[in-house]
Symmetry: C2
Subunit: 253 residues, 2 copies
Amino acid sequence: MGARRGLTDAALDRASPVPLYYQLAENLETAIRSGSLSSGSHLENEVELARQLRVSRPTVRRAIAVLANRGLVIRRHGIGTLVVPVRVRRPVRLSSLFDDLAESGQTPTTRLLAYEVVPAPPDVSTSLQLPRGMRVLHFERLRLASGQPISLMRNFVPLALKEVVTEEGLQLTGLYRLLRQSGIHLRLASQSIGARSAQPRETRLLKVIRSAPLLTMRRISYGDAGQPVEYGSHVYPAERYSFEMSVVADSRT
Amino acid sequence: MGARRGLTDAALDRASPVPLYYQLAENLETAIRSGSLSSGSHLENEVELARQLRVSRPTVRRAIAVLANRGLVIRRHGIGTLVVPVRVRRPVRLSSLFDDLAESGQTPTTRLLAYEVVPAPPDVSTSLQLPRGMRVLHFERLRLASGQPISLMRNFVPLALKEVVTEEGLQLTGLYRLLRQSGIHLRLASQSIGARSAQPRETRLLKVIRSAPLLTMRRISYGDAGQPVEYGSHVYPAERYSFEMSVVADSRT
DNA sequence: GAGGTCAGGTTGTCATGACAACTGGTTTCT
DNA sequence: AGAAACCAGTTGTCATGACAACCTGACCTC
């Protein structure tokens, strides 16, 4: 039952503004991903872990809860906490394609195809909870990764964000990063994933064959206060893109 | 700030085996979905809620955390807890298509196209963490909703489950229900959603036009102990199916 | 030998208490 | 009048303590 090293090494910093439970969760995640906590093995039990790290058991539990939510460990009543014996890949997070590509080491670029103020189409005004026909900012982007087109994105945002979502900004970075830099934090999104055949214009822009299958994603994002911030309708060439996610069962069912 | 009725009505049952926090979460969810807690309104603050219901504040917080995870409310430090002002629909849960269809009032039926023991293909044995070439149970089903084909499903499970996953069972109900009835509870799945064109055989079975776009889902499900239970490779006609999900941001980011 | 029983270890639930951090409005000061 | 400081209200974090529920393996009984 030994081999508990690596946890006490990266000690917790009580002076840090980062909560203890979160520091602990990150340390544990690092230990798991690096392999120092091998797959299928037991985590040290909560009481002992709390004693070693000089924190309370609720703090330990909360840290483990974070990991369980991410699908990295499984808790079993009366047994212990097990490290999930697989690599579960990047979940569908509330993140931008731009950041995802950048993180995975690619160099995303953007071609801005449209940037204009238009009256909101019916479904957009409904989604953004605006009066019918209210004017909104609309833009369309072609996203390339290492020179290859990987997504065609149409977006609508309320006109108030025109100063935040600028033409220059969109060409240089991702939408979500622009929003975040202006203090707008997205908290929630509802999205729908489907598929359809490419239309002629899409065929040309995405460089796929005629009627090639495309993945489609429709997303409405909401900010801190629950206000709708963005409506997006994106398409991806199916042969170059897929959505990966891990699903965790409700602990009670 | 009145109008708090409906919460104290459905009182908490301390004798019930269902945890208090979960009872409270369900009561709150019912109140939200029924509209008695209107969209955008504040929830009563935690301290007061705890006092009224005669529970501790951590219990209230845990209940609210459940709702926040489901995307029904948004918590804001220093402000309060807001009811999300939108309808966020059924997320991608760890559930079977059969149950989903049944719940939405349709009458799912199944045509069992194959049921056999075969050596595991390489990707299957890897996914199920079995030795190369180990024999597994393979079956293929065509799922219809109200008579219309809606999914073609290929699955592989370890041979040990042959007694659980029977031919008769598969024709009458869904795979997940069969597993659950035998005490196998799925806890986690990793899945990948993509798209491609229909092959001739799929065109015929799913009754779609030649090369019609299909949604594809590959899923590996894991049981209580983290052991792989099922490998599934499913396709859906894009014009009759889409995946809906809500994404909640990590509270720390 | 087979079965039931029990003990030990583990996570699950809940209470109480305290202080920190944040937000928005009000008040006060310049 | 404008800006800064303050304050009340709220959620966020953490500690301590206690008991319940559950699983496994060892032991005992039949």
